[in-house]
């Protein structure tokens, strides 16, 4: 362990430097949400989350169907009129029902679809952790009573006492 301390120290430095560099870069790269999105950007983000009602599973942004065009026009008009994203989605939901949004609502009965996968993954990881932790415990061999009696009988039959009972 102490054969090449300078190498270890260099390595430590390399990793610490790495963490600093990446941390700074990420801080720079993910900050700056200052400017509010433009009307066009808002329209794109709303339209990407609204389903084209007469198509199979694509968004209003991607579709050229008549219903999609109508919804895009309505969204643009409402953005221009100053409505918020939530109000526009509420308007569309009041016409088509919650199925018009490509993202199932987070509240209510559809919350299951959001909660189940992270819960399942967490349960899986916890299961792995538990199993591995149990592995670390000293081996406790659980011997059923009949087997124990058999071994005892065989050992006493051989004439050995406590001393010959190995393991």
């Amino acid at each position: 362990m102490n054969r090449r301390p300078s190498r270890r120290a260099r390595q430590r430095l390399a990793w610490v430097g790495l963490v600093l560099v990446v941390g700074t870069a990420l801080a720079v790269g993910t900050g700056r949400g200052s400017t509010p999105p433009s009307a066009a950007k808002r329209a794109v983000s709303i339209e990407a989350a609204v389903r084209c009602p007469s198509c199979e599973g694509i968004s209003v942004l991607d579709s050229s169907a008549a219903t999609a065009v109508a919804i895009r026009r309505a969204v643009a008009a409402r953005i221009h009129a100053g409505q918020t994203d939530a109000e526009i989605e509420a308007y569309l939901t009041s016409r088509y029902g919650p199925g018009i949004l490509l993202r199932p609502p987070v509240h209510g009965a559809t919350a299951w679809v959001w909660v189940l996968p992270p819960a399942a993954l967490a349960a899986g990881l916890a299961g792995i952790a538990v199993v591995l932790w149990r592995r670390r415990q000293p081996d406790r061999v659980w011997v059923p009573a009949p087997d124990r009696a058999l071994v005892e009988a065989a050992l006493t039959a051989r004439g050995g006492g406590e001393g010959e009972r190995g393991r």
């Binding site: 050229s64 199932p104 792995i128 592995r135």
Partner: protein
Amino acid sequence: MNAALGHSGVWLGLVASLVGAAVIVVGLARGRPEGTRAGRSYAVLILAGAVASTVAMERALLTHDFSLAYVAANNSRATPVLYSITGMWSALAGSILLWGLILSGYIAAMVWRFRRRAADPLVAWATLVTFVVAAFFFGLMAGPADPFRTVSGPVPSSGLGPNVLLQDNPLVAFHPPVLYLGFVGFTIPFAFAVASLVTGRVGEGWQLATRRWALFAWGFLTVGIVLGAWWSYQVLGWGGFWAWDPVENASLLPWLCATAYLHSVLVQERRGLLRVWNLSLVIATFSLTILGTFLTRSGVIQSVHAFSNSDIGPLLLGFFGAVLAGGVGLIAWRGDRLRSPGGIDAALSREGAFLVNNLLFVGFAFVVLLGTVFPLLYEAWRGQQVTVGAPYFNTMTVPIGLALLFLMAVGPALPWRKATLATLRTRLVVPAWAGALVVVACVAGGVRGLAPLAAFGLGGFAAAANVRQLVLSARTARRHGTSVWWGLVGRANGGMVVHLGVVVIAVALAAATSFGHRGEVTLRVGASAVSGGHRIAFEGLAHERSPARTATEALVVVDGHGPFRPAVSQFGGGGAAVGTPAIESSWRDDVYLTIDALPVNAGGRVTIGVTVQPLVSWLWGGGALLVVGAALAAVPGRRRRATDPVSAPVPPPRSRRVGGVSADGPSRGPLESGSGETGADVERVDETVGAGSP
């Protein structure tokens, strides 16, 4: 004539599979090897039946024999030759025929490959399972999904022609057959898994026997999925290549389980662990191919692909249920035999990494499955409709994908059994710095957003880590006196190349989805405008009129290149008009052009939709890398004889028998592995002695 030939082919296949299954059962019950061996000849009969039906169908399509209802619905006199041939798999009944053909081919190949072990109960049971599956699919064709049903009433003079979207791109000739080669290919590992459970031989034998089969099936499935994405990109008009469509999800689900299986198998080969995982993954993969076929063919969830509502839905669902129940039941029955000799010693080890890898892939599959069927479940429960679309899948799968990228970097550097952080720190410092530099370069280049930066950084990390493995392997090869290129073949090295392909695809996905630009330009003839950083010029309209296609094309010049021809087309002289996009591809980005509005009157303005997405061509490049990696992994690597000392040079394989796993059973025990690993282990032993790992 065609109908008669087709029907006889189908019935031949059905009867041969049923009788063959019966013969094998009798042979097994009586313990007579002749019985089980005789089952092999039935495989030839099944193949003959499938080939006869295929020939009949193709002949009917090429000669426009409209007395067959299928031909009348999917072909017309104006259909070009290519699309007549591909018409065989354009719709439901024909695609079952394609499945039957490919399945028969695989069964015949399997029977030939294991011919010397035909008396072995393991092989016999596996053959039996494949016969039962074949009987199911031929039974579908003999009954509800009859491709050779004749038209009731007078024979029409021409047919409806193929679906419009299936006529405007030659990829229709490749995507379905390749995808089916993948789907159907998993029948063989599944059959062997069931055989191992039934015979109680749940060790590693069945896995070693089917290793290359699983790899080939995985390879084809991967190519099929990538081709599907490419095809929808070229045809469907919104510049997207993956819409989390139920049918796309149906092909992704078995792929996820198969990928997990390919990784998890390594742990069982090395240490005999994770047996229940591996059996479950193989059974899950096969079940999901059946479930996927059900979801696609029954129309139960509408999607871009859903061809028809049909009677085979309940049958496919029933088969899926039977496979699932049977598989789960078998595993429960053999539960005691599936205990492994040993366990995972430490969480930080390659076994631990593979276990977490399994969990992540299964979690991914769970997300995709839940999202696909949740609308149905919700509607059954609440009576209301809800949509689970791309935003949900993206939100849920991006974290899993990032975690997988991280594992891809760390996993190959982890030693077996137990690792220390010191070991990892030493091995991964250079790749980690590579990833850090990528992040810095991206931020400096103006990239913003946590998910894309994390994807690029982890991608750089993983790429560097995998390249490190390849370099170590090549160095070992040179040290042992063989050509450096031997360091690039074999399972481990092929796997590293596959990982590189995945990194390229991940980076492309992150770039294309986070930094795409969508716009429209409205131009008169001769005018141009800038959209998304490119100059778009409109040069005029062109009209094409041929029996196959009537189209109005816009001649568009992008940055001086072109002209590109986005169009509005009608196929076969009738039917709906569809937009056909045109794409200008470069290694940097793709400019995707569609006609959003044609001029109302002559000399008017045309509205062209312009979608610019960076790095899309990297997707297809990454897909090619995946195929190259899979091919490399299939090549037998260099193996050392188990009795030679660890430092002995590894000779290049003289023959398949020495190098690979021969069909006659494993010639090496589970401790053998590709030279890449062993060589690299040697390398690592040299390294870590100095650092003094405990």
